[in-house]
Amino acid sequence: MEPLSNRKKVLEQKPMDFWERLYLPAIFQGMGVTFRHMFKKKETIFYPEVEREFSENWRGMHSLKRDEQGRERCTACGLCALSCPAEAITMIAAERQKGEEELYREEKYAAVYEINMLRCIFCGLCEEACPKEAIYLDGPIVPADYLRKDFIYGKDKLVEEPFNV
């Protein structure tokens, strides 16, 4: 039968000849290869001092965004929690009171918004589901910690810093 691609290689399966059974030529060849690698550029990135450059669409820690006037965009619609395949997001909604117009953009807002970073798989579906452009995974790597409860990030860690206008 005609092969679909011409990438098929027929391997020779003949018994080893004398030089191959000596092992030494092959060993010296291999040692030459490893010796050349000693002088190659090292791939190591010295992590705490130097950080690897991430690609533009890299997904890191979540941040809850604010609009141009510094108000929280999130309306606690729950679409992110619904879309989350790992069920990492929970929230409690609340109604905006009089005098809070500078804090929250819509009439409803998230009083509690928690993401369990141990459950999160950083798929970015919450970002895609959000109709208000309120959540983006544009932060740094989520840092290590000692206790499970410390991985549940609340609004104090997630919401963007207010603008200094």
Binding site: L22, I27, G30, M31, T34, H37, M38, K40, E43
Partner: protein, 345 residues
């Protein structure tokens, strides 16, 4: 006179002991550094400048780790195993001639701890004893993996001692002496035995890889099959002793190979250097040259380890019995013929 002799030997033993321990400790760092560089990494570099204090950190870690002695093990033998391994790897360096005699205030001090007239046999005895540490440790652990490792170590070391001894016989035919000191003296300048016994050297090199349980012959501690081999059950400092013994063995094997085949402390132009520096510093340069040769061999050991994969067990036995022993016997025959022809001329 007697007191001076004792002091002199005691000082020498201390110095050699310290050098062995330092070299073994820094071999662990060198191993990881070389492994890194061969694999396009940099190796440990956090403890001190360039990772210089890594061996100290590792040693401290070994000391402070919990030592577990399995309940079903034979306790005395369990402790004896690593102790014996460490002991045998340390006493081997007693017959290595580290340099020519140095002169301190019209007193000639030999740089060899004991000039045994059967030095090579002594080395062989010590090296064969080394496997007892592994065997006892592996057996006393009462663990199947350890036992398998110990059995492998024993059979491997028996198999490879034969070609090693046979390759040495050819060397002895060429040198006519069993004393390490005389063998070193005969190789004055550039008159090294490697030029007379190239095949014998290769056999000896392969066998010393097997005797020190280094890759490609590290089947006794083969991680992929035996978890940790003979030291599966060991932890803390006893585990450290086994590891240390392996590096000391490597140091000893390098020293023996340098002395037997690569001229020991001899180097071209040594007469001129000795006449320039006098009888005290000249031999010390020779000792430095010997250490450089040893380091080169240690580097070679590590280079091979991070290049060559482990042999399968049947391949190991085939290589030992069907390739190396016939080659070693052929080497003896060839050496005999050549010596006879040269004597007749």
């Amino acid at each position: 006179m007697e007191l001076a002799f004792i002091i002199e030997k005691f000082a020498l033993v201390t110095v050699i002991f310290l050098i062995s321990l330092t070299v073994a400790a820094y071999s662990t760092l060198a191993e990881r550094k070389i492994a890194g560089y061969l694999q396009d990494r940099v190796g440990p570099n956090r403890a001190g400048p360039g990772g210089m204090f890594q061996p100290l950190a590792d040693g401290l870690k070994m000391f402070f780790k919990e030592e577990i002695i399995p309940t079903d093990s034979s306790k005395a033998l369990f402790i004896l195993g690593p102790s014996l391994a460490l002991l045998t790897s340390l006493i081997g360096s007693a017959v290595i001639p580290w340099g020519e005699s140095i002169q301190i205030a019209d007193r000639l001090v030999s740089l060899q701890i004991a000039d045994v007239n059967v030095g090579i046999l002594y080395i062989f005895g010590v090296v064969s004893l080394g496997v007892y540490g592994i065997m006892i440790g592996g057996w006393a652990s009462n663990n199947k993996f350890s036992l398998m490792g110990a059995i492998r170590a024993a059979s491997q070391s028996i198999s490879y001692e034969i070609p090693m001894g046979l390759s040495i016989i050819a060397l002895l035919m060429a040198t006519n002496t069993l004393s390490m000191k005389e063998i070193a003296e005969q190789q004055h300048g550039m008159n090294w035995n490697i030029f007379y016994q190239p095949l014998g050297f290769i056999i000896f090199l392969v066998c010393s890889f097997a005797e020190t349980n280094r890759t490609p012959f590290d089947l006794p501690e083969c991680e992929t099959e035996l978890v940790g081999g003979y030291h599966t059950e060991y932890s803390g400092f006893k585990m450290g002793a086994f590891m240390f013994a392996e590096y000391l063995n490597m140091f000893l094997a390098s020293a023996v190979m340098s002395t037997l085949y690569f001229g020991g402390y001899n180097y071209p132009g040594m007469d001129w250097v000795n006449s320039m520096l006098g009888p005290l510093f000249g031999p010390l340069i020779g000792m430095g040259v010997l250490l450089v040769k040893i380091f080169a061999f240690i580097f070679f050991f590590m280079w091979v380890r991070w290049t060559v994969p482990r042999f399968r067990y049947d391949q190991l036995m085939n290589l030992g019995w069907k390739v190396l022993i016939p080659l070693a016997i052929a080497n003896i025959v060839i050496t005999g013929i050549v010596i006879t022809i040269f004597d007749k001329l």
